[in-house]
Amino acid sequence: MKNLIVKIGPLLALLAVYALFAAICPPEFLGFYNFKTIITQTVIIGIAAMGMTLIIISGGIDLSVGSQIALGTVVTGLVLNSGGEDVMSVGGGLAVLAALAAIIICGLCGSIIGVFSAKLKIVPFIVTLGMMQIARGVAKWLANEQTVSTPQNPLQTLMIVDPDPAWLVFAPGVWIGVLLVAFTFIVLKYTVLGRYTFAIGSNEKTALLCGIPVATYRIVIYTLGAAFAGVSSVMQYSNLTVGDPTAASGMELDVIAAVVIGGGSLSGGEGSAIGSITGALIMAVLRNGSNMLGLPNYVQEIIIGAIIVGAVALDKYRNAGK
């Protein structure tokens, strides 16, 4: 019974936050359109949080996610522009290519992080702090320090709250997000990669003793995690419709917060896909509700900060009771 409460704790918190805002917000908050808006607003952080969940469970951290997302939007923009400046719209083929390019460039960032932290044994905090600057710098360099405007293309429809065709109900990006949450859930629970991720984060020495190639798996985990950030960057591009090297600044902290609120432990070995997506939803509901109430930005920041610390404190409290 107690176990169950612990497991669905973040979900209860989400319901509580939703109920709270439903009570004090104008009735539009409960409308279906607003529900769709909240879900759509969760996509970028939610997808990146799936990657971060893997990384945090393995005992790592990636501070460069925000910069990677910015780099991804720029690369997406550049590939879309590869036809020349006069093109007014491009088709699906090039759009897919642009998205893949963004995912690959982010994955590359992740591989570099993985190699430096796993092979050269530099703590991931430092490696990713460096990557945060480097990826941001490269993004600005590639974009000539300005936004990259792009021709009309299918990627721009990914995040439209009322999608076309209408039978999709939710934006295509939402469905991609749902698939990725399911993917992460399955990877963590039913695959060798997932089990090794937990094992490495729970006790790296034990993992080594059991013959698990820890360094290789760390590189795989960082690469995969960053590839998730790549997908987020495509969604971010879709929101902005331009490549923006200054986008998503500080977003890594929201992503990490989502994982931590969802039960992820920064010392590794704990976390879940469902928990992290719930964490992302809690933050999205908070932002949406606060906006609707006309609360200034700083109030949201204070509330989110308190929730992060509160979630971890609760976690400590229940662990101490064991």
Partner: protein
Amino acid sequence: MRLTLHQIRKSFGPVAALKGISLEAKAGEVLALVGENGAGKSTLMKVLSGAELPDAGNMVLNGKPYQPNNPADGKRSGVNMIYQELTVAPHLSVAENVVLGSETSSWGFVEYPLERIKAVLAQVGMSDVDPHMPASGLSIARQQLLEIARALMFDSQVVIFDEPTSSLTAEDVKALFQVIHFLKNKGIAVIYISHFLEEVMEIADSYTVIRDGESVGSGAVAQSSIPHLIELMVGRSLDDVYPKIPHLQGDTILAVSALSGTILPQNVSFTLAKGEILGIAGLVGAGRTETIRCLFGQDAVISGQISIRGKVKAQAGWSVFEALDAGFDHLSENRKEEGLALNLSIAQNMSLSFLSKISRFGFLDLKKEESISKNWVNKLRLKSSSVHAPASSLSGGNQQKISLGRILELNNDIFFLDEPTRGIDVGSKAEIYRLIQEQASLGKAIILVSSYLPELLGVCDTLTVMHKGLLSPKKKVSEWNHHQIMLFATSGVFENEPAE
């Protein structure tokens, strides 16, 4: 009477760690507190120091009730602990360490009563040490003496030593014993916790044996003997603890020649046959664990050769993967830090080294994992609510059984068991000894490293001793005597006279 404990009880949740401990420590005497690992010594320490409050019972210090609420309280009352893990702050100077916790200040500035500091340093035999040097420059033994100096600064009435010699050389032990004699002569009551019974016989005046959280016997050391103390500690006759299962030695399976690591071991050679249980004795830090780690590919090997079934498998080292592949398996001495992923479940821990057996295309067969781990849980009599319970929820003995289950399921030919019974209860120990014998009867070759000599003598067929990275020649257990083992362990001198 300095300090008396009467029927001290302490439970953590449903687990009763102390079920009634009584003892009496007299001024100017050394009381040895002996017991197996897991008997409740560390909990008792915590109660004595004030780190844990007892649930029931009372403690009397100098005729007054002693009820410390925290360790600082205990210190103020004059009860000081010398912990097994050093508590010296390496970046601070010797003088700063001596007054640590007992600082006096004027106008907010710390005062260093240098004369007093020098006096207490001299009392512990460190008059040659400059009080201004950083504590990190001292040897381990001297850091421990520094802690005793700190206890003297507090005007201690009672000083408690927790396994103080576990990382000391024979010479350092002598120096420590001199200091303990000094404390005795000063009228301090010394409580000496150890499971090295030879030391107890040498230093202590009286003893109290604790077992499963209860004090089961006490008296004067002069009227006791080592076998008597062991039977009190274990609570049963020695034959019950060390079951014998007949096993024959087959062909040589492992030959190690001239194996050297970065510092330890040095030039180690030995052979191991199928069905043989080889014990490696020695002091802590002699290089036994390092030898195992080199063999298993965890530590770098500088030179040497490892042959299996007559074929050279590794020249100057290999990786853990290759070692596992070649048929080795390793139970680490450090269960919590290396042996187990504590927040993963029993099943997840057990399957960690054979996921390839229970997966297809990277997907795990969770049903198979569950049935395999249930099988071992039953066979090893592992007590738990379910195989999905986290490893952290189990007792030390049951945790060790998880690691053993992992090794048994992988079913390699050569096992290295490094301190397999450290910190676990007697019942689990006996079960592990039985298991080792069983595996030998199945033709497994086993190396058992232990700091607990009775266990090596009770379980192994053959024994070698390690001293500073050097390995003694191997002999049958029956051909060693106690004196020869200790002689090689402490000085590296091999005396090959037939045992009497």
